[in-house]
Amino acid sequence: MAGLALGAGSTQDDNPAAMTANDTATRDADGTPTPAAAPAGARHALVVGASSGLGAALVRQLAREGRRVAAVARRGDVLADLVRDASAEAAAAGGAVFAHTHDVRDTDAVPALFEAIVRELGGLELLVYAAGTRPAVGRTEYDTEKDLDVLAVNFGGLVAWGNQAAQLFRTQRAGTLVGISSIAGNRGRKGHPLYGASKAAMDNWLESLRNRLAGEGVHVCTIKPGYIATRLTAGLDGLFWVATPSQAAAAVLEAARARANVRYVLRRWGVVGRLLPLIPSFVFRRLEF
């Protein structure tokens, strides 16, 4: 089975069914299948939420490994900078980086953009959904529109991109979908109600998808970071076990390669993640974090 080869040593695209950019012409049914006409060393990856933090680090890492990477993000200017930086490294390693400006709340646009990207890349074996938002929520703030917007970005977008990937991956019986969730999904905290709820929804949905697709050669991986030094955590006090974005990106790709189901980043957060559900409610509601 043509599985995902994320190791840096991967030099051969051995999936003949993988799409190449212009390979939509009929091939004789009995023609000996030829490997996809992608550059040697290239695999195809798509990162949604690529303009900053973990997403940007993933694009850089994949580019360095010589893959053909599509970077999707809302902020076109930031994305352009990233692509400019990453492209040189990608080209040196035999890969390429493509940028697409997209707001993940615009789910109607996803099917067409997904198809355009897969054709452009020449196939797809890895999709990472790293888009996320965590706006500050006041102690007395109960704002439905704002809450549902968080849900749309963190969860709605994942469903839209994940469903497209699921259909491609299951039919090619190969592919890995990675969702960047959070340890925040493990309990309902006072501080960020919809952030936590959206991450809990991600966890449950990704697990569902993992179980649905397990028999079809497709893997779904849930990443649960603790703290990563990004915009979301900038200026916060009391942080510990903080991963740098590049550290986290390496951990994500390693987890995907190892076909991990749920992986905490850094891994020691797994201890916290498993202990959190054990804290009784009357204690948990007194905690401030």
Binding site: P16, D23, T26, T171, Q172, R173
Partner: protein, 490 residues
């Protein structure tokens, strides 16, 4: 930006995705945009989308055709499976009015408790009625009940122009007889009216018989032609010499009123459902075990074991077996085809099914089996059925027999296996045989012109040109077997 209020989050137009679309046998696959309409208007929208993009559109049901009938490497694919409502069911007359994407599984589950069963089903319950009609599928009762088209009373079809036309034996009979079996070349079915068969039990009375060679298998089938409602022969492709074509025949008949003391019980859907595990082993994973046997020595052993086990079963005649178990043997082990491999387009199986008149069938097949053994391309599964003719223009049905041979395809034997298939096809054509577009993957355009009566093929092509002058509806199959005729301007 929150969703538009009142839209229910539903974008306008048919659902779409981008997928690797493969034939059921997994030997051919092509990436395509897949459009999933939910109404006649959305079918029209699919036509327009393809036109807008300047590409042809291939029609697809649930993709159960073995070869390239539902693949369109040069354009988009319209998947009809979302239009799956049972529009009307009359338990008095047994007439069902269906949307095209209703599967045979959904149909039998709906009608069996009322004492009815589809008149014609293939060996699997997963095809849609539209796919079954477009390919004019047959079952083990072909010699009595005819083909799927024979059970169709009327259909609506969305022509490439967008016009919806109703056709039956009396109304627009040309369209009726051309579109049934016309593998989706003339339009997309949007409503199908089927007659079904009255049953008085959810069981069949099954008799198992042993044939020591191909002659005996075929003679046994002939001998049961008048008395059996369902008749199928299985043969072991491995032995040569006197035992070539040894096998088993299963003859089954519906029960008469009163034969089943508790028909309410056997007519329950639950009674027909098969257990999901075998001796505690989940059936969903059984193919992994089968994969270990999926090689020449393993399959030689498996076929021999089946023959010997069948001989033992023959001592217990007759047995009462559920309708679903007899009708859908291909569904006994879920995903059994994965034993042939799980790499789309690279590994899989080709089924070579030939239909021959009585006079030439036996000698031709003995020759085919011998050549398979000589080439060391022995079929892992071989099935014989009895047939009768039907009135559809592009039909595969003959007054005679069919033999279906499943060959394992690997990257190493791919070219050799296709050449082998083409060689076998020549022999079959010379013997007056026909082929079935739901299975075929080896024929070329000249072959089709040589086995279909020229007048049938010519009037089909003329109708295609009239209804679809631009060649909007195409598949890999149509481009392969009809050549440029199907292509039009697209």
């Amino acid at each position: 930006m929150p969703r538009r209020p009142g839209t229910g989050g539903r974008p306008a137009g048919p659902r779409r995705s981008f997928e690797l679309v493969e034939g059921w046998g997994m030997v051919v696959a092509a990436p395509s945009r897949v459009l999933r309409p939910r109404s006649v208007d959305e079918i029209r929208a699919c036509y327009q989308l393809a036109r807008h993009d300047g590409v042809p559109l291939g029609l697809r049901g649930t993709g159960n055709s073995y070869g390239d009938a539902a693949i369109n490497a040069r354009g988009h694919v319209l998947d009809i499976a979302r239009m799956d409502r049972i529009l009307r069911w009359d338990r008095e007359t047994g007439i069902a009015e269906l949307e095209p994407g209703v599967t045979l599984q959904r149909l039998w589950r709906r009608i069996l408790p009322d004492g009815w069963w589809p008149r014609v089903v293939p060996g699997t319950m997963f095809p849609t009625v539209a796919g079954a009609l477009a390919m004019n599928v047959h079952g083990k009762n072909n010699h009595v009940a005819g083909s799927f088209g024979d059970a169709c009373l009327q259909f609506d079809i969305v022509l490439p122009s967008g016009e919806v036309r109703t056709a039956s034996r009396d109304r627009d009979p040309d369209l009726f007889h051309a579109a049934i079996g016309g593998f989706g070349m003339l339009g997309c079915f949007s409503r199908i009216v089927l007659a079904t068969h009255r049953v008085h039990s959810g069981k069949l009375r099954v008799e198992a018989l042993r044939g020591r060679d191909l002659r005996e298998v075929m003679d046994l089938m002939e001998s049961r032609r008048a008395t059996a409602d369902h008749l199928v022969g299985w043969i072991d492709g491995f032995p040569d010499g006197e035992r070539s074509g040894r096998g088993l025949v299963h003859a089954a008949r519906y029960l008469e009123p009163g034969e089943d003391g508790e028909p309410e019980e056997s007519l329950r859907v639950g009674y027909q459902e098969r257990p999901t595990s075998l001796l505690g082993f989940p059936k969903a994973d059984l193919w992994r075990l089968l994969r270990l046997l999926n090689n020449d020595p393993g399959m030689r052993l498996a076929n021999a074991a089946r023959y010997l086990a069948g001989c033992a079963t023959a001592a217990q005649n007759p047995r009462l077996v559920s309708l679903a178990a007899v009708a859908f043997p291909l569904d006994h082990v879920p995903n059994w085809k994965f034993a042939y491999g799980t790499e789309p387009g690279r590994r899989g199986l080709i089924q070579f099914q030939s239909f021959l008149p009585r006079a030439t069938a036996h000698a031709t097949w003995l020759e085919l089996l011998a050549r398979c053994r000589g080439e060391r391309l022995v079929p892992y599964l071989a099935v014989v059925k009895l047939h009768r003719q039907d009135p559809f223009w592009m039909t595969h049905a003959v007054d005679g027999f069919s033999l279906a041979l499943d060959f394992k395809l690997t990257p190493a034997n791919r070219a050799r296996l296709f050449a082998h298939g083409r060689g076998l096809a020549e022999t079959v054509i010379a013997a007056g045989g026909r082929f079935y577009f739901a299975k075929d993957l080896v024929l070329g355009p000249d072959a089709v012109a040589r086995f279909l009566p020229p007048e049938d093929l010519q009037r089909f092509l003329a109708l295609k040109r009239r209804l679809d002058p631009e060649g909007l509806l195409q598949t890999d199959l149509s481009r392969r077997v009809l050549g440029k005729v199907a292509a039009g301007t697209l």
